[in-house]
Every structure is written in C-alpha cells, then in structure tokens.
Point group: C2
Chain length 233, copies 2
C-alpha cells in the first residue's frame, strides 16, 4: 500500500527524483506535461508545477515553454554556500570573538575598486583593514572600501565596539551583492597578520554589496590557513 492520500509537492518531487535516479527518465529525455503528471498522480497541476519548478531551480530539470521539461544532462552545477557571519561563526563554536582595526583612513580608490564601486577616482572612500580573531588567534583579515557618498555616516563611525561589518549592516539596507572566491599566496603582510608562513595558500572571498543600484562597499576577506567553506546543510 502506497496509500492514496493527496500528494504534497515534496512527495511529487521525490517521485520525480526516483524516476530520474532509476533512469526511468534518462538525461535529455522529455518528461510528461504538468497536466498529465497531475492527472497520473491525482493532484492539482499547481502542485506538480511547484515540484518541477523546484527541481529545475536545483538544476535537475530543464524547462522551456512549448518545448516541455527535460532531465538535465548535467545536474549539480550549482552549490549554495553560506557566507559566514564572522562573529556568529566563532561564537557558535564557543570561542571568543574579537577584532582590531589595523588601518582606517580616507584614501583614493585604486582602479579596480573604482570599477567595482562604480565611482570616480576622486570619490571619498573610507579604507579599513580589520583583523578578526577567534580565541585571540587570527581568523580573518578584512580589507574594506566604503563608498561614503552612499554612507556618509561611516566617516564618523568609531568601530570600537561594533565591527565595520556589523556597523554597516545596521546602518544601511543591503539588497544584493556579488561574490568571488579565489586562492592567494600569503604576502609578507598577510602572513605576518594571520600568523602563517609567507606564500601559504589562503582562501580569499571578494564581495561587493549593493543597495538598489548604489554600490555600498567592497570587501576582501582573507581567511586563516586551512579554512574551509561548505555547502549549507
């Protein structure tokens, strides 16, 4: 008995996943229309739609109007990473969170930052270097450029009890952003600050944050040696 209760969209998803897994529907195959599936499974088309849309979002299916729905040839091409909130990440492990502002000055933006923040070379930009620590050990080294046209109050901010990131989060409404991950070899300065040997491979996360169409801030986080970023859940 598989039961005949009406199906939830999750149940429909699971059925479809199984058929793909068991190769009843093979990569590249077209699968039945929403209407047919709904009838076969005994639920509303909207339910099937919700299920299939989810699988398409996950990259398992490819859907196009008129052309129908096909099993993706190459699934798993997307991965969602949780971008850590440094303080949370550290405190959740029961370690002591701490930070130190190393540099704080107004500075003309270099060309790459001008491009990222979409500003001119004479725009007033706040430059910050911050070291975040877990149990007093270096954890992440942050280099940040803040567009003070977008956030004038940043020029007055003290950043003594609240880290630059936390301050910005409270002050302005973020809306979106772009990320890039890369590996770098530790410069002498980075090695000194993070307490690793010069040339060590370090994970670098670049992030630019937007509020509507206005660029707020551009950051590079350089993590301590050995740091790993995982897909969530």
């Amino acid at each position: 008995m598989t039961g005949d209760a009406r199906l939830s969209w999750q149940a429909v998803q699971e059925i479809v996943r199984q058929r793909i897994r068991q190769r009843i529907w093979k990569p590249g195959d077209q699968i039945p229309h929403e209407a047919d599936l709904a009838q076969e499974l005994g639920c509303a088309r909207a339910t099937v739609n919700r299920a299939l849309r989810g699988l398409a979002d996950a990259g398992l299916l490819e859907r196009r109007r008129k052309a129908g729905t096909r099993v993706a040839l190459n699934p798993i091409r997307r991965a969602e990473f949780s971008i850590p909130l440094i303080r949370e990440e550290i405190e959740n492990r029961g370690e002591r969170f701490d930070f130190r502002i190393l540099t704080r000055e107004m500075r003309p933006p270099p060309p790459d930052i001008q491009a990222r923040l979409q500003i001119g070379e004479d725009a007033p930009i706040l430059y910050l270097q911050t070291l975040y620590m877990a149990n007093h050990m270096p954890y992440v080294f942050e280099t940040r450029w803040v567009n003070t046209r977008a956030v004038p109050a940043a020029q007055e901010a003290r950043f003594d009890t609240m880290s630059p990131n936390e301050w910005l989060v409270r002050e302005v409404a973020f809306d979106g952003g772009d990320f890039a991950l890369s590996a770098i070899s530790a410069s002498t300065q980075e090695a000194f600050i993070l307490g690793c040997s010069a040339g060590a491979g370090l994970l670098a996360l670049d992030r630019t944050t937007r509020n509507g169409r206005q660029m707020i801030t551009s950051v590079r986080l350089v993590f301590h040696a050995g740091y790993r970023l995982h897909t969530r859940a």
Copy 2:
C-alpha cells in the same frame, strides 16, 4: 500613474524590497501579514506568499508561523556558485578542451575517503588522476575516487574520448552532493602538473556525489593559479 493592473509576484517582491531599502521596514521589524498585504496591494494572498517566500529564500526576510515575517538582521548570507563543467567552461571561451589520465588503478581507500564514501577499507575503489587542459595549458588537476560497488562498469571504462566526469554523468544518475572549498599550497607534484611554483596558493574544490543514499564518487579539483569562482549572474 502607477497603474492599477493586478500585481505579479515579482512586482510585490520589488515593492517589499523598496520598503526595506528605504527603511520603511527596518531590520528586525515585523512586516504586515500576508492577508493584510494582499488586501493593501489588491492581489491574492498566494501571490504575496510567493513573493515573500522568494525573499525569505534569498535571505532578506525571516518567516515563522505565528511569529510572522521579519526583515532579516543580516541579509546576504548565502551565495550560489555555479560549479563549472570543465569542458563547457573552456569551450565557451573558445579554447581547446583536452584531458589526460595520469593515473588509473584500483586502490584501497584512505580513511578520509572511506568516511566520505561511507565504505569499508576493503571496498573496491577506482582511483583516477586526470589533468584537464585549456589550449594545452594545465587548467584543473582532478583526483577522483569511484565507488565501484555503486558503479561496477567504471572498472571497464576506457576514458579515452570521454573524461571520467563526463562518463560518470552519463552512466549514473546523480542526485545530490556536498561541496567544500579551500585553499592549498601547491605540493611539488601539483606544482609540476599544473605548471606553477611549489607552494603557490591554489583553489581546491572537494565534492562528494550521491545517488539516493549511495555514495558514488569523491573528487578533488585543484585549479590552476589565479582561478576565480563567481556567483552566477
């Protein structure tokens, strides 16, 4: 005239985004119920639901039954990266894709691979080292362990015209997987293979792939120096 056509869920999303951006609804604030919003905006609750659910998925809102919907205190904690299909990535840039199998043998799995693939130490495991090239230059160095209990045919596969990854994608239905990103310092072997200096910082992507509850394969990709992984669109 803003018009009085009925709203799409995207339009509702944009309205909510604006209210958050303009701080009409501040981080931590509770926003109106779906029903109220639907009435205010003149659309069905399902439409509001779809819009708000999307924003919650994106991390901009936090929703809980009974407690209602709140503006997230810290948005943008998730980022979706497109995991490259090596061949596509290279050919899309108009470069020549190529690969070479460097090692191919049955080998007892080391403890970390045993754990990842959830197998015993005597399980039959295929070990593969492959170098992928763009325009004959080293691009990615892949180290792969294949659970031949799950994919017996892998023992016979030639991998002469089809890379191990492409072969596996055709042969078994993937269903999910876990990813981790880290930075490593190039070992002598890796430096030799990838044509960089020993100790250079390189981006490493570890991936374990599942079919239902059965673990199929575990891979480490080590990218050439300077490689960057971006959020998609």
